[in-house]
């Protein structure tokens, strides 16, 4: 047991730090919450290094099969911590500007990160559920943080009710799986299915509920209804948070359940995921065209991206899973820039979340217009940006596994998707601005967002390292 605890060190550190931050914040009188903020960043940094330091270079299953540390969990945790540090940086700027600065944002955020880390390492249906609930409950509260806003309250309630429903589905699926296999641990589940004469009907029944639960959390169509409302209603800093790191955790959960626990049922879940993927790409890309609010548009774009994420899973090979991981990490990078940009352009009492707020951005500020241009082409999957390689990678693995028809459908929807990204570029470059007011943002904000945005181009020009990380996570 003592050795087992070593592998849990990053989580233990994060939990202790989160509790510390909670206490310190309770006694803090500083209206700017400087101490809380910096302590939060310090906790994440410590956790970041703890993951690097304590992760073994072999796979170790701790706590009677409940918790696993392997290359994938290590990489995902590193990215989760790294991304969250940047997200909290953007958030701090936003919360300060909009007088929403409360310590709860950071403490809840830390607990959410803890939940994500547990999900990344969970090797047992109960530990998955534990991590998922820790994450979800923190997020529900974060969405509702802007108490006076009716939009935020509505979003929070919607998120909570639907999220609870999804959790219920997940639990129901877990109980079915347990009923059939007599275990909740992924290796045992897989072994039982492979060895024993098992009634597959109940198994698939349970699996379907599990997938529905996961699709809900990821926001795949037709379980996507909460996504646009929550993205639009929540304060931008919270939307930024929801759309970045938690997606990595949800990806981890999906991989663990499908490729570890339910790997013998691959053909069955492949066909379910195909339906979800095609629907998500269709719904996301088509409905996004009709949006006038950029947060809502990005929400639909997320739904479409989740569809592409599924393509790598459908491929069903280690390379395919690696491509999905590459996709979700690139997506998190791009999403950070997108919401960071909205925060940058916004001012007090004036969210820059309307598409028209981007009108004539190139004359107002050519540098950030250029970054937004890179981002939009990247999301559309146009080379040489990061987003191209993520689409390229999943398509390649999909075709390698022989699903050419699905690949053709996917590229077809990506053409539709290009239209609404181009529209933003059109607004920025071809239209005249409605206001000429200068962008009011701190120098740090500008610097970090610039680096973040340029990374999309730089990784797009040299994607090899990120690809190798994803490949090694699945030991390819």
């Amino acid at each position: 047991m003592r050795t087992d605890l070593i592998f849990l060190m990053p989580e233990i550190i994060l939990l202790s730090m989160a509790c510390l931050v909670l206490v310190v914040d309770a006694f803090s009188k500083d209206p700017f919450r400087k101490v809380t903020y910096w302590l939060t960043q310090l906790s994440l940094l410590l956790t970041f290094f703890a993951v690097i330091y304590y992760s073994p270079d072999y796979t170790y299953v701790a706590f009677n099969g409940g918790f696993v540390t392997d290359a994938m969990s290590a990489f995902l945790k590193i990215f989760i911590c790294g991304i969250t540090i940047v997200v909290f940086f953007y958030s701090y700027e936003y919360l300060k500007e909009n007088e929403l600065l409360k310590g709860e944002y950071f403490t809840l955020g830390l607990f959410a990160v803890l939940g994500m880390m547990v999900m990344s390492s969970a090797y047992h249906l109960l530990s998955i559920y534990l991590g998922l609930e820790l994450l979800s409950l923190s997020l529900y509260a974060m969405v509702a943080m802007h108490r006076e806003s009716t939009f935020a309250t509505e979003a929070a309630i919607k998120y909570f009710v639907l999220g609870a429903l999804a959790s219920g589905m997940l639990l129901y699926g877990i109980s079915m799986i347990y009923g059939v296999t007599g275990s909740l641990q992924f290796m045992e589940i897989a072994d039982t299915i492979n060895n024993g004469a098992i009634d597959k009907v109940y198994l698939i029944y349970g699996m379907t509920f599990l997938i529905v639960g996961m699709a809900f959390k990821l926001g795949a169509a037709p379980f996507h209804m909460w996504v646009p409302d929550v993205y639009q209603g929540a304060p931008t800093s919270v939307t930024l948070f929801i759309s970045s790191a938690p997606k990595l955790a949800a990806f981890a959960m999906t991989i663990r359940i499908l490729s570890d626990g339910l790997s013998p049922l691959i053909e069955d879940w492949q066909s379910i995921l195909t339906v979800l993927a095609v629907l998500s790409m269709a719904v996301g890309n088509i409905i996004a065209i009709a949006q006038t609010n950029i947060k809502r548009m990005l929400a639909y774009s997320t739904i479409a991206h989740v569809g592409y994420l599924f393509l790598g899973l459908i491929a069903g090979t280690a390379l395919g899973f690696a491509s999905s991981m590459f996709y979700i990490i690139s997506y998190a990078f791009m999403s950070m820039v997108a919401f960071g940009m909205i925060i940058l352009l916004g001012r007090y009492d004036l969210e820059a979340d309307n598409l028209n707020d981007f009108k004539g951005l190139s004359t107002r500020n050519s540098w950030f217009a250029f970054i937004m241009l890179c981002l939009m082409f990247s999301m559309a999957g146009v080379p040489p940006f990061l987003g191209f390689w993520s689409k390229w990678f999943v398509l390649k693995e999909l075709i390698a596994s022989g699903f050419i028809e699905i690949a053709v459908i996917a590229v077809f929807f990506s053409i539709i998707g290009v239209y609404y990204y181009l529209r933003i570029i059109k607004l920025m470059y071809f239209d005249t601005p409605e206001t000429m007011s200068a962008i009011k943002a701190t120098q740090q904000m500008r610097t970090v967002l610039s680096i973040n945005g340029i990374l999309i181009l730089v990784i797009g020009l040299a994607p090899n390292s990120l690809m190798r990380i994803c490949l090694s996570a699945f030991s390819v």
């Binding site: 082409f377 146009v382 080379p383 040489p384 191209f388 390229w392 398509l395 390649k396 075709i399 390698a400 050419i404 690949a407 053709v408 590229v411 077809f412 990506s414 053409i415 290009v418 239209y419 181009l422 529209r423 570029i425 059109k426 470059y429 071809f430 040299a462 994607p463 090899n464 690809m467 190798r468 490949l471």
Partner: protein, 506 residues
């Protein structure tokens, strides 16, 4: 520095791209410096492509100036460059056109001049990249990235309906290209390689070849463009600024042709044979039907755009005539002639269409109208200009002695070997082309100058004379003495013909 080991192809890509970013950095405040620096970069790029021509070995059919190292090691995607006799003329056309475009924009573009110049310089680098890439993914990256500067050029400096035109342009070409990506990835799953030369050698079954051919067809036919996927071109041309139209017509259209020669024909020769008849019919429709469409246009740019589509019909005709010839005869000679004619047509059309668009640009800069009816009697006020335009109009209608004649003649000659009626139909263009071009010329240039604006037109200045003189020289040179061009491409085309005459089905 050792001149023999100079990575010229990399320089041709990166010099204009980095130069373009540098221009952006100089900024709009120093307009003079932006112009001079852009001119310098474009001249330097042209100089390097001339060096390429100087050092090119005409007798060698393989790839020359090869540069090869890993780009994305995980999937053995390489930064792999090289050229043969097919790519070299197109590269020179690209660098030459860039010089023209930079000079043409000298006084005309006054808003965001640094954006404009940098967009064109970056575009040049990317287009060179398309012609020299030997790795299919590298090719695809250049091919798609190229759309971004063009999208901005049409969208920012275009006419009143520019947004519609540029989005249509982007979506159309993107639509074709993504299917090419699927085909490339499928080829990878068969051959385990992204190297274009390996893809060309791989043996593939007929059904797979047909699917691959269709995917490539979508990409390249949209780009060339072939009837019936040509509708983006007139819109894009009409709305684009003069420089944009020139680059579109002179180079971008040629990429479709280059794609056919580099991908469709060598990778799927059996499917090309299978689809050859259909492709010939589509080409003939483009030549004749679009010729008639050009006849009724009232907008000069639109007329030239349609004339481009009609001329590119000759290119695709020349590409697919050989497959009929292989079946009919044992000799490859006429097949080589058809392909060389198509190549010649591409190069010559690059010069002529550029010249025609620049001529319209010259008039547009003065009167801000592209409508034929707004002119008439231009010769009275602009005699020198009228003389130049006369030459280009003649070249556009394929007059012997101009470069426009050579390609068309070879393609028609080659199609005679296959079928008299194909040749006959194609030859109709000599009448149609003369009709729409010269009729437009007559209505715009000749007659009494009635409108006051036309009477007050000033003739071309030194800068404009320089551009038109350059183009006139090239058009006449290749019309009278096309040998240098044929020398460069002959061996490569022969080798390609040899390659595509063999079946790839095991």
């Amino acid at each position: 520095m050792d001149l023999n080991n100079l990575p010229i192809l990399s320089i041709l890509i990166w010099l204009p791209i980095l130069g373009g970013f540098w221009v952006l950095f100089i900024g709009d405040q120093q307009e003079r410096m932006v112009r001079q620096f852009s001119f310098l970069i474009s001249i330097a790029t042209f100089f390097f492509s001339a060096l390429l021509y100087y050092k090119f070995d005409n007798s060698f059919s393989g790839m020359q100036f090869v540069e090869e190292f890993y780009w994305i090691e995980s999937f053995s995607i390489k930064y792999h460059l090289g050229i043969d006799g097919i790519a070299l003329p197109l590269i020179m056309l690209t660098t030459f056109t860039t010089v023209l475009v930079v000079v043409a924009a000298w006084e005309v573009i006054n808003t965001n001049i640094s954006y404009y110049m940098s967009a064109f310089l970056i575009l040049t680098g990317l287009m060179n990249g398309v012609f020299v890439a030997l790795d299919s993914i590298l090719f695809y990256v250049f091919w798609e990235t190229m759309l971004i500067p063009m999208f901005l050029i049409i969208g920012i400096w275009g006419g009143p309906n520019r947004v519609y035109a540029t989005i249509k342009f982007f979506l159309y070409t993107f639509l074709g290209s993504v299917f090419m990506l699927v085909a490339l990835l499928y080829l990878y799953s068969i051959t385990n390689s992204f190297n274009i030369q390996i893809l060309q050698e791989a043996s593939i079954g007929l059904t797979a070849q047909k699917l691959i051919f269709i995917a490539f067809f979508l990409a390249f036919a949209v780009k060339i463009p072939m009837w019936p996927v040509h509708t983006w071109l007139p819109d894009a041309h009409v709305e684009a600024p003069t420089g944009g139209s020139v680059v579109l017509a002179a180079i971008m259209l040629k990429m479709g042709g280059y794609g056919f020669l580099r991908f469709s024909l060598p990778i799927a020769p059996d499917a090309s044979f299978f689809f050859a008849d259909a492709m010939i019919v589509l080409s003939l429709i483009a030549i004749v039907y679009i010729g008639f469409v050009a006849l009724v246009q009232e907008d000069m740019k639109k007329l030239i755009a349609y004339s481009s589509i009609s001329h590119m019909g000759f290119v695709t005709l020349g590409f697919f005539i050989p497959f009929g010839i292989f079946a009919a005869t044992n000799s490859n000679a006429s097949a080589v002639m058809g392909l060389e004619g198509a190549m010649m047509q591409m190069i010559s059309h690059g010069f002529i269409s550029a010249a025609m668009f620049l001529c319209v640009g010259v008039m547009y800069d003065r009167l801000h109208s592209r409508m034929i009816k707004d002119y008439g009697g231009v010769v009275n006020s602009m005699p020198y200009f009228a003389a130049f335009m006369m030459l280009f109009a003649m070249a556009n209608s394929g007059l012997p002695g101009t470069s426009g004649f050579v390609g068309e003649f070879l393609v028609i000659l080659s199609s005679f070997k296959l079928n008299f009626w194909i040749a006959f139909t194609a030859a109709l263009t000599l009448i149609l082309g003369a009709a729409y071009t010269l009729w437009m010329y007559k209505r715009v240039i000749f007659g009494e100058a009635i409108r006051d604006e036309v009477i007050e037109l000033e003739d071309i200045d030194a800068r404009e004379t320089f551009i038109l003189l350059l183009l006139a020289g090239v058009v006449l040179l290749f019309g009278i003495w096309p040998a240098p061009l044929f020398d460069v491409m002959h061996v490569s085309i022969e080798q390609l013909t040899q390659h595509i005459s063999q079946t790839k089905i095991l």
